[in-house]
């Protein structure tokens, strides 16, 4: 195998893994919220962008190291979500067909955040780039892998493992899964459903924020990423099965790797739309998603 072929192959694999893990993180965040409180959060892309922009401010304008700034911003997502939960989200917990109400509400949040970004960050720059977490390159055979992306990939992988472990083995994770499956039965078994709702909203958003800061560490970005990520996260959730964390994880990775591969064998344009085609086909045959409970 020639060096050129190895470089293309390794670039495809690393790109697929990088994108796949970020897609998975955001989709898991979206599906945790949807699975527990039935909120199809259309504002997830704006939350993702908010995290990335705050990281840009903290590291470029205020000079904090990106790693420290990232931790602070993920931490800030908790009071941010808590405030939203108190002000808006909990008011709809007992509303029939609340997923529609939540969808409209999240569209409103999307508009407000987009407006705020456009009159603040929008006049400072049209593109945003952070200093690297770590410098240098690691040679994987003939393929030069940037250490910064390698670090972002490793952190994303660790986060996914931690998240999966939390949901699988921790008491809160079990309570959350019980609420996912049957909230009335969970309540009868002593689970504080409202507390689980609140925790889910905060955890889901923290995971979306984590996706945003990792993306900002690995790539330059602009406002368009909010829309791209919102659509992608929804597509992954629908294909994986709404409320299925495993589905979001698996399909997110499949999306990332598929995009990277299709972009070589067809074109980047076809790659970008391939998952939407896949979503339509899967919805035709499995309307409830591949990993539906």
């Amino acid at each position: 195998m020639s060096d050129a072929t190895i470089i293309i192959l390794l670039s495809m694999i690393t790109t697929g893994l990088m994108l796949g893990m970020i897609f998975s993180l955001v989709a898991v965040g979206v599906t945790i919220i949807y699975g527990s409180i039935w909120m199809p959060n259309a504002a997830n892309g704006q939350f993702f962008l908010l995290a990335a922009l705050l990281l840009w401010s903290a590291s470029v304008s205020w000079g904090l190291h990106p790693a420290l700034a990232a931790l602070i911003i993920i931490g800030l997502s908790v009071p941010f979500s808590y405030a939203l939960e108190i002000l808006l989200i909990r008011r709809f917990y007992d509303v029939p067909n609340r997923n529609i109400s939540y969808f409209v509400l999240s569209l409103g949040i999307t508009q407000i955040l987009a407006g705020i970004f456009s009159i603040t960050y929008g006049i400072w720059s049209d593109q945003f780039q952070l200093p690297p977490l770590v410098g240098g390159l690691t040679m994987l055979g003939p393929f030069p892998m940037v250490n910064n992306r390698l670090a972002a990939m490793l952190i994303a992988a660790l986060l996914l493992v931690a998240l999966f472990t939390l949901l699988r083995y921790h008491r809160y994770g079990r309570a959350l899964r019980a609420v996912f499956q049957n909230r009335e039965a969970a309540a009868l078994r002593g689970v504080d459903v409202r507390a689980v709702y609140r925790m889910s909203f905060m955890l889901g958003n923290a995971v979306v924020f984590a996706g945003g800061v990792l993306f900002a560490c690995a790539y330059s970005f602009d406002f368009s990423i909010a829309w791209t990520m919102a659509i992608t996260a929804f597509a992954i959730m629908i294909i994986g099965g709404p409320g299925s964390v495993l589905g979001a994880l698996v399909i997110g990775m499949v999306f990332g790797l598929t995009q990277a591969a299709v972009s070589i064998f067809a074109s980047p344009t076809i790659a970008a739309f391939s998952y939407l085609g896949a979503m339509l086909v899967i919805l035709l045959f499995r309307p409830s998603g591949l990993f539906a409970r």
Partner: protein
């Protein structure tokens, strides 16, 4: 003594009459519809920052005031159209100006042509804005297909028969640049390979950077949109493409800063830069004032909005009646032969309102946190229809 007093009194009366006349004259109103919010807000607000600096200069005492009525189009063609109608019918502006996006400019262009309102476009490069038969629209920025022509000429001068990779985002602007480049490449003996198009919203180009490297081109023309442009540049450099192989068709300040130190040695095209060899005294003052106010040097966007205000001043000053009659204003702009206040580059318009076009190519020398240094390495001027721009881009 009596005679002196009489002369003084007459002079005073004359001055009073003249100043009263100037005061009595309504200001010349220009509708400035630009992108203050929405995805293009950076460009619209940058443009207005340039305009504000010009406004400090173009209304000296004794001259008829020119008033720019600035309205936000939210980067939406429908809003740009509604604002144009409002400025035309309600505010009765003598001319329209302001857009920095081809989409909003095209919406205003349709209104201007239909309703015979002169329209001076500071920053929009889509060729069809000045398609044959255009009468009321005048474009200050060269058309995007022409930029592609200029890149081909630059590469041919650097290395005859060069192999050029083109990697770009799927936006009308980028497609137009590539169309011009490919057209001229065949004439100039250049080989375009590979040509890679990315859809909007792409965030990663590692795989395509590897494909470009495998093709071993002499130059890589990189035309990404927004943040993807920096990602694309970084990933090409990561994979081993040299900086002096990279050509960006346009460089604005935020882009150059984001390309960063590692891009020293790469090239970019532009229409104005703080590092040009020949800036006029006004140009140097503009750069200094802009830098003091905005903490960064201006790029061609701010310059074109600054220059647009000066063009309108000159048109009003040299053509009596142009401030009150749209046809006279339109004829005056059409016949204008002047120079950019900041760089001395000639400004004339052809029969369709397209400007005599030009481009500088700069090579980056250093990039600091708030500034950068670059060196002018090539300059080219051309007729707007040197290549069939209106057939290439429909």
């Amino acid at each position: 003594m009596k005679r002196q007093s009489r002369i003084l009194a007459t002079g005073f009366a004359l001055a009073l009459v003249l100043s009263t006349t100037a005061l009595a004259q309504e200001p010349v109103k220009i509708g400035f519809v630009t992108e203050l919010t929405g995805p293009w807000s950076f460009f619209g607000t940058s443009c207005v920052a340039g305009l504000k600096l010009a406004e400090l200069q173009i209304n000296p005492a004794g001259k008829r005031k020119i008033e720019f009525i600035t309205i936000d189009n939210q980067t939406r063609p429908d809003q740009a159209l509604a604002a144009s109608r409002n400025l035309d019918v309600q505010s009765k502006v003598i001319a329209l100006s302001g857009p920095t996006s081809s989409d909003t400019a095209l919406a205003m262009n349709g209104y201007a042509e239909q309703n015979k309102v002169p329209f001076v476009v500071p920053v929009a490069a889509f060729p069809q804005l000045t398609k044959p038969g255009t009468r009321y629209t005048f474009r200050i920025e060269p058309d995007a297909a022409g930029w592609g022509y200029a890149i081909a000429q630059f590469v041919a001068k650097q290395k005859p028969n060069a192999k050029v990779a083109v990697i770009y985002s799927d936006f009308a602007l980028m497609r137009a640049i590539v169309a011009g480049l490919k057209y001229q490449a065949s004439t100039a003996g250049l080989k375009i390979e590979p040509e890679i198009l990315f859809p909007q919203g792409t965030s990663d180009a590692t795989v395509q950077a590897a494909q470009v490297r495998a093709a071993n081109p002499d130059y890589v023309v990189v035309i990404g949109a927004g943040g993807f442009d920096s990602t694309l540049t970084n990933q090409l450099l990561d994979i081993g493409i040299r900086t002096d192989q990279i050509i960006h068709p346009f460089g604005i300040t935020t882009q150059v800063k984001n390309w960063g130190k590692r891009s020293v040695g790469s090239y970019y095209g532009t229409f104005f830069d703080a590092n040009l060899d020949k800036l006029t005294a006004e140009g140097k003052q503009f750069v200094d004032q802009f830098r003091a106010q905005n903490d960064r040097p201006p790029s061609y966007i701010e310059n074109y909005c600054f220059v647009t205000a000066h063009i309108i001043r000159e048109v009003i000053d040299k053509n009596p009646g142009a401030g009150d009659d749209r046809e006279k204003f339109r004829d005056a702009v059409s016949a204008l032969k002047t120079k950019e206040t900041t760089s001395g580059i000639p400004i004339t318009f052809d029969k369709n309102g397209a400007r005599k076009e030009y481009m500088y190519f700069m090579q980056i020398q250093d990039v600091q946190a708030k500034d950068y240094k670059s060196k002018q390495v090539f300059y080219i001027e051309w007729d707007p229809e040197v290549i069939p721009v209106y057939d290439l881009i429909k």
